[in-house]
């Protein structure tokens, strides 16, 4: 197994995470999923990489970006991997509460 550039920290059945999954699939991006614990206090690995205990979070070694919150991540993926400026459905208002669980 080659190491994909994107590491995706996620929680099973978390809708915010599934939103990111859909976007990764849409752009056919290779990623490695790392599943973490439902318990907030047990999420040290995410805290270490992103500074927060929320998921989803991604680390993209392509660009050196580490990011939390589904709205932010989706926007980032659109910007980075989408067709330039062709996705008018993305607005800033969507980035509000992505990281909650």
């Amino acid at each position: 197994m080659s190491d994909p550039d994107i590491t995706f920290y996620r929680l099973q059945a978390c809708p915010f995470c599934e939103r990111v999954t859909r976007k990764l699939a849409q752009y056919d991006l290779d990623y490695q999923s790392r599943f973490i614990e439902p318990m907030h206090s047990d999420r040290n690995v995410v805290k270490r990489i992103s500074g927060k205990r929320t998921v989803p979070a991604i680390v993209d070694r392509n660009t050196g970006v580490t990011m939390s919150e589904s709205g932010n991540i989706v926007e980032y993926l659109d910007r980075t991997y989408g067709t330039e400026g062709s996705d008018p459905s993305r607005t800033a208002s969507e980035s509000a509460d992505g990281g909650a669980d």
């Binding site: 197994m1 599943f35 614990e37 690995v45």
Partner: protein, 170 residues
């Protein structure tokens, strides 16, 4: 150990010394998260000791991991120790925490890996549930089996000294 005959497990044509251990990819759990990992990727980095054990929570799981933890083989030998049971990643995380083990555990609820290795143990009294019979495989970088032990009784435990001798022979 007891004054009656322990239950014999049927003969099985399992993966044995000299064979190439079948590769597989399953969620591999550490103390913080789990991710899909291939046995071949672990083996590429050096010998692997693959320990099949009863589901987390059964007493043999506790016995086996206490013993393996205390022997800390990986500090004296170039070996990656990993376990495998049918328990879910959530249960593995609990076992790792409760037993204080430094080793990662594969999760294989559908028991497909045991099937590939020929070591399926259908559990009497738990309808529809099968798990691997206890087994220990020491693999080199090509996944060639250098040492194999497969339970022939139920319950049965690895001969830890024998495993240690096999590690010394690497």
């Amino acid at each position: 150990m007891v004054d009656f005959e322990v239950v014999d497990l049927p003969e099985t044509d399992h993966v044995d010394e000299g064979d190439t251990a079948p590769d597989f990819t399953r969620p591999l759990v550490n103390e913080e998260y789990w991710e899909d990992a291939a046995l071949s990727d672990l083996a590429e980095e050096g010998p692997v000791l693959l320990v099949f054990y009863t589901m987390d929570g059964a007493f043999p799981a506790t016995y086996i991991w206490n013993e393996i933890r205390d022997r800390s083989w990986d500090s004296d030998h170039d070996v990656t120790v990993v376990g495998l049971s049918i328990s879910s990643p959530y249960e593995h995380k609990t076992l790792i925490e409760e037993r204080g083990i430094d080793y990662r555990l594969f999760s294989d609820p559908a028991n497909g890996v045991a099937e590939a290795y020929g070591i399926v143990n259908d559990l009497d009294g738990m309808a529809g549930v099968s798990e691997p019979r206890p087994a220990v495989y020491l693999l080199d970088e090509d996944r060639t089996v250098e040492y194999a032990w497969v339970a022939s009784e139920w319950p049965d435990f690895p001969d830890y000294d024998e495993v240690e001798a096999a590690l010394a022979d690497l």
